[in-house]
Symmetry: C2
Subunit: 444 residues, 2 copies
């Protein structure tokens, strides 16, 4: 390898957990290849951690570690932030930008909470802020959206962006397990944390949905713009009924362009939402198994695209981080400022009310004549049109009223409001023991 | 929209066929959105064509058309070359580069034939040469490989990169049709050209394989480094037998890192090849239907990735072209030279002999005792290990010797040379009427 006339760029790493330790290992092991690809030697100048002697996922030289993150940041050309959480990550990133460093981060919580501040500061300072690792781990999805599809108009993004919930739903689908048992299995295998709230309640997916929507529609969407529902109330019965009908249940992050009818104001905008969703089993996203992630995009010119790969894990996520590091280094070598995103779309963020989907409604009803007709009548009164209705008579199913029947109704497109009114009306019927589930259907 | 302080960039379009007419339409229709995304107005300064009054795929202002491509190129900031073929495309691109314009092209034949000259001239002039549309149409695959995976080490690329052949094979698989009939159907539906040679003989896929391999392994691979075999000899019987055994036959473009054994020199290198391939039906690429394209990548850190979408068509391909145009415009607005690719990998190109795969060998043999043993013996003598052997007795199958049997043998990993020696030895046996097919198996 030629080493003459090669610049050296100082790379500061903040955080040395699962991902950070792999990033450090690769920076050291593959230094020659990275230098060849960027035109600069990427010198790992230090690794900021809370405790120097904590166990790490890779063997790294002890002298690289420091507890003084603030000092490390000030002398770096490229700062990699893998601390997670809001502080001190936010302050350190702002300090890096002020000192003219390019920043690479995988911190979706920070980006969803305070991204706009960071993007503006980076743009003003002419440094590159990139965060491919924040969404869908190793899957290159943000750069394709930002750059490759920049001449197209994205109309819809559907993503499986949380491996934990996909693993749990996949387990439930393939083994018939209940949610609690599938969660325990995921925890045992290391796919779910001891406190799984952020994953199973959809908060992690919601942060990623906000980032995907912002890049796809050239408009900043904040976490509070995302309608969010998790998977903890999805039952084995929901999954089994979906399976019977040719569907699979996935937790999807969805951002789509919608027009509200003229009667309701005629706005065009984007609704961003995360919820468990029925998908036809032949949809490309339906085959995404285990802890894998995938993002399905519909664009006016490109049509349907899908991006698939590992959504988590130290080494896969390190791949995304290092892609951003190489990109930052190439810019620093070749000159010219970076650009993070364009936000000139000015698309209104629409509430979940603007969305019309099919629904799958599960009911526990009395097993007696006339029930179907009365329920169908209520749907009609609320102008929700029924596509299919399936009834299963229960003999002795635990937790279900004896002498009752299970009814699964799939509707045509309906608004959240019309569906909610229907469900409320049904709940008041004497022949209905309970509404066991209300799930949206996509991809039909 | 703010229009103050907005630069104007002149965009010259060369060629106005399927893709070009859509590119022109979008440049005109979406001028405001593109200006917002790039910070510059993209002014379509002219469209160079051979015949001004030929019919076009979109309604475009007549005054934009010119037959003087050479003059148009000289005044442009961005030149979009969609002429196809080697000349005059090559001369016009070189002229654009000399005049300091960024170039966007979808011309895989030219890139595979003379890419290195173009890349070097562009690098030397500090202009951006991009060609996302050259491989897999609308699917963003080159930018993810070049940028997102730049910090990783790609070990293997498997691509369905030719929609025509995928459509034909898919038809054969789903309807049981013979190759000739499926080709006619593809021609009737516009998926295959009147002269289908470039597609069905794998030449188009080979050019794309060379481009994918060059970017993935940071080393220039030329068309002559690509081992190429088309699908015209794949029969309905091959497809049916593959289906029975749980496989689907796809034309794959494959580039993979290999080590030749120490006995044979111990080289590490990359073999690039295009051939019909048996894939397990549960492989992600097996579900790519019709004229869709997909590229499956294995990288050391990222693991398995897949990119999927429309591989051809005017509008989808225009999406890829415009992504490159926006990227070039952003660079011109923000300053700083572009960079096309790095070619510092210096990986040797290996011949097909270096590849060890499983094979599926079809034989028409005499239906008599001892045949299986004699054939198995020959495989063993040539040190090709057999995984499975299936025999079907033929009653009255057209084109097959009466009183004969069909034998399908799937081997363990074997070299091309060992397999060829085996096939030669088998051909000499009196009990063998013919070797009906030899196909490689991947993805197991």
């Amino acid at each position: 390898m030629k080493t003459t006339n090669v610049k050296t760029l100082k790379v500061a790493l903040l955080g040395c957990g699962n991902v950070g330790s792999q990033v450090a290992r690769i920076l050291l092991e593959d230094a020659d290849a990275l230098a060849a690809r960027t035109g600069a030697r990427l010198e790992l100048s230090g690794i900021a951690v809370r405790t120097i002697d904590a166990p790490r996922g890779a063997e790294l030289p002890r002298e690289l570690f420091t507890t003084d993150a603030a000092a490390l940041v000030k002398s770096a050309d490229i700062v990699i932030e893998l601390l997670g959480g809001i502080e001190p990550a936010r302050t350190l990133i702002l300090s890096a930008i002020e000192h003219g460093a390019c920043v690479v981060t995988g911190n979706k919580a920070l980006l969803a909470a305070d991204g706009p501040t960071l993007y503006e500061k980076a743009d003003a300072a002419g440094v590159q802020l990139s965060y491919e690792a924040a969404v869908a781990g190793a899957v290159p999805i943000l750069r394709p959206i930002r750059d490759s599809l920049a001449g197209d108009k994205i109309t819809r993004v559907l993503g499986i962006v949380n491996g934990t919930t996909n693993f749990i739903l996949d387990q439930m689908d393939s083994t018939g397990a209940q949610f609690d048992d599938a969660l325990k299995e995921a925890q045992r295998l290391g796919y779910a944390e001891a406190d799984p709230t952020a994953d199973v309640e959809g908060h992690d997916a919601a942060a990623k949905a906000a980032i995907l929507a912002s890049l796809s529609f050239h408009t900043r969407f904040a976490l509070e713009n995302v309608h969010c529902q998790g998977i903890s109330s999805v039952t084995a019965a929901d999954i089994a009924a979906a399976k019977d009908a040719g569907f699979v249940i996935k937790l999807l992050a969805i951002a789509e362009k919608l027009s509200v009818s003229a009667a309701d104001g005629g706005t065009e905008g984007v609704c961003v939402r995360v919820h468990p969703t029925l998908l036809p089993r032949e949809h490309p996203l339906a085959t995404v198994r285990g802890a894998f992630n995938a993002v399905f995009i519909e664009a006016e010119s490109a049509g349907e695209l899908m991006f698939y790969g590992q959504g988590a894990g130290g080494t896969p996520t390190a791949s995304a981080v290092l892609g951003d590091v190489v990109s930052a280094a190439r810019r620093l070598v070749l000159g010219g400022p970076g650009r993070t995103e364009t936000t000139t779309g000015h698309v209104p963020a629409l509430g979940i009310d603007a969305v019309r989907t099919s629904y799958c409604v599960g009911l526990d009803v009395a097993d007696q004549p006339g029930v179907l007709a009365r329920i169908a009548q209520l749907f009609a009164e609320n102008r929700v049109s029924i596509e299919t209705m399936r009834q299963t008579i229960h003999r002795e199913v635990p937790g279900v009223t004896p002498g009752s029947a299970e009814l699964r109704i799939v509707t045509h497109l309906a608004s959240e409001a019309a569906l909610a009114a229907t469900v409320q009306a049904i709940t008041g019927l004497d022949i209905v023991n309970s509404v066991t589930s209300v799930l949206r259907v996509e991809g039909v």
